[in-house]
Symmetry: none
Subunit: 178 residues, 4 copies
DNA sequence: TATGAATGAGTATTCATTCAT
DNA sequence: TATGAATGAATACTCATTCAT
């Protein structure tokens, strides 16, 4: 990872381009889009994609990992409620994460990356509880469950601004007192 | 149902067997499972599947319709909270409905069947509101949104009994007062 | 063939309806059209078609036979040149005959029916020769060859009135003196 | 041809093998023969055929183009009458062109390639007219019409040497004076 | 005899993956 | 290491033909 040889640098650049392309393609056409399409968008040959990610699932897993890391980063900048709101609003844009978290036939397990997100949300939850913004009885598992559920619902349901707000209102009320 | 000819009876039996097989196969392997597999499970030739459902999408739509009708029927027997609980508990068994309601790339439009379910939930909501079990401000759209969200979450998240209960507790609290 | 039982009459009527339907369908969509389509147009079940014509080729052969018989009848009412002109003009309408005479992958042999047409054209040729309208050296084989060639050309080339006339002018001039 | 990479050479070789195989297969069995059969004869996998020709129609169009180009080349070496004679004699060998020019349900448009052939025949016609071998009133459209008609007739009629000669005699006489 | 449901081999096409250059 | 051509299993769908009713 700290290799400085020019070839490695090229390879790293290709890896990044492929990930970018894959994220865009899968977000636009779903994970059924072909790897060839990803290669085309990335401007590399198909063989290069498979050299970096021996399997399509490996490629999908890599995207997930990156997207989850971004979420963790975003979580660090917000409180629980704005993070929730932000995620739900962005669900469509993050189609790939949501879909992959949802399973969609692809077998991907990223305990670490998911674990990191869970930890980040856990911190937000503790802060919120400490501030009295969330009932004491609320635990992390159901918070995560609600988060992923709402993201999937928002993504596939095509919720408009108003529906997002109304739905979050109910959930937030539930988190405050139950 | 008005048909009395024996041949029609055979055809109806096959149609039902194909639907049963398709429901099972798609629930187990996702909607990407092959039509051939469905035929095999149904114990009919592939041509028979396509005679009954000229397109794979037609087959998926037929499953959806049947599953949604079952939901509507179940809704008639329960109050809002037990219906919610029941659905979430059954999410995995109804994988196909949930997936199809969620989109998953398949283009299926069943406004009628979905509309019927929405109406049924609407009735449950009104009863709950009338009984003071749900806040006046809660409307049907967010109720449906929560329902589908939780089903997707439960399905893909593999929630255990306890997680289901805890998550529903939050949502029910939110519905009662927000 | 002289059976008078009502069932036979029904069967004969069905046979005729199937032939009519087949002629129409194959003329419109080519011989690749499905037998099912023919049955639909004829208003009978697919099984009935196969009872009358055990094979699709049998059905095609039967159409051919009937169409050729019509040609023979028309030949009896015309002289060589007007028969030629008439046939070429009708080529598109008689798509099926032309196509089948042309082979199109279907293996059909109708020596008798073709023979009858050949005899009819032979008679026209003799008359024309006797009237000095055609050179003595012109024989039947090349006359038939020209007839079928022009029909195929007209059919597939989509000749307009003018092109038909110009092409026939050349051929007729060749028949008169060579 | 400007490409120097060895892989490109391999691909070109395969492309040519596929075209050769397709020409042979379609000539022998008609355009209904399967693409799989073509791949088998070419000694490549089915995917390779579709990589080069994304659609069966694309493959057929490519064959046509090549065959038509050969005809144009042959036209350059002959006068109108020997070209006619040559084409008719070769009709069976060029089954695919003839069939495709004739339509046969396949939707292929090659205005350029066909146009080139028409131009070549046009030049032969002018030469023949200039030499007084063809009547002044004969125009290109009917010349082409006769050419294609006779090819189709010869192909499907299975004319022997003698019949070819006799038929051409009539047509040539018609071209000389009409 | 008519019906039309069932059969199943066959077809074009796609796509993850391999491998020669 | 990158390329992109080749592979071939898989998939949705068609259609001539059979056969139970």
């Amino acid at each position: 990872m700290i290799e400085g040889s020019p070839l490695r640098a090229d390879a790293q650049r290709n890896r990044a381009r492929i990930l970018d392309a894959a994220e865009a393609i899968f977000a636009e056409f779903g994970t059924r889009a072909s790897t060839e399409e990803v290669a085309r968008r990335a401007g590399v040959a198909i063989g290069t994609v498979f050299r970096h990610f021996p399997t399509k699932d490996d490629l999908l897993a890599a995207i997930m990992k990156r997207l989850l890391a971004q979420l963790v980063e975003e979580a660090g900048k917000r409180d629980l409620f704005t993070f929730f709101t932000h995620l739900v609003a962005q669900a469509a844009a993050k189609k790939t994460v949501v879909d992959l978290l949802a399973g969609s036939g692809v077998d991907i397990r990223l305990p670490d990356a998911v674990g990191h997100l869970e930890e980040a949300v856990g911190r937000l939850l503790e802060q919120a509880r400490a501030a009295g913004a969330v009932a004491d009885s609320v635990r992390l598992p159901e918070t995560m469950a609600l988060l992923t559920s709402l993201c999937q619902g928002a993504l596939h349901g095509g919720w408009d601004q108003q529906l997002q707000a109304r739905t979050l209102t109910v959930v937030f009320a539930g988190l405050k007192r139950d």
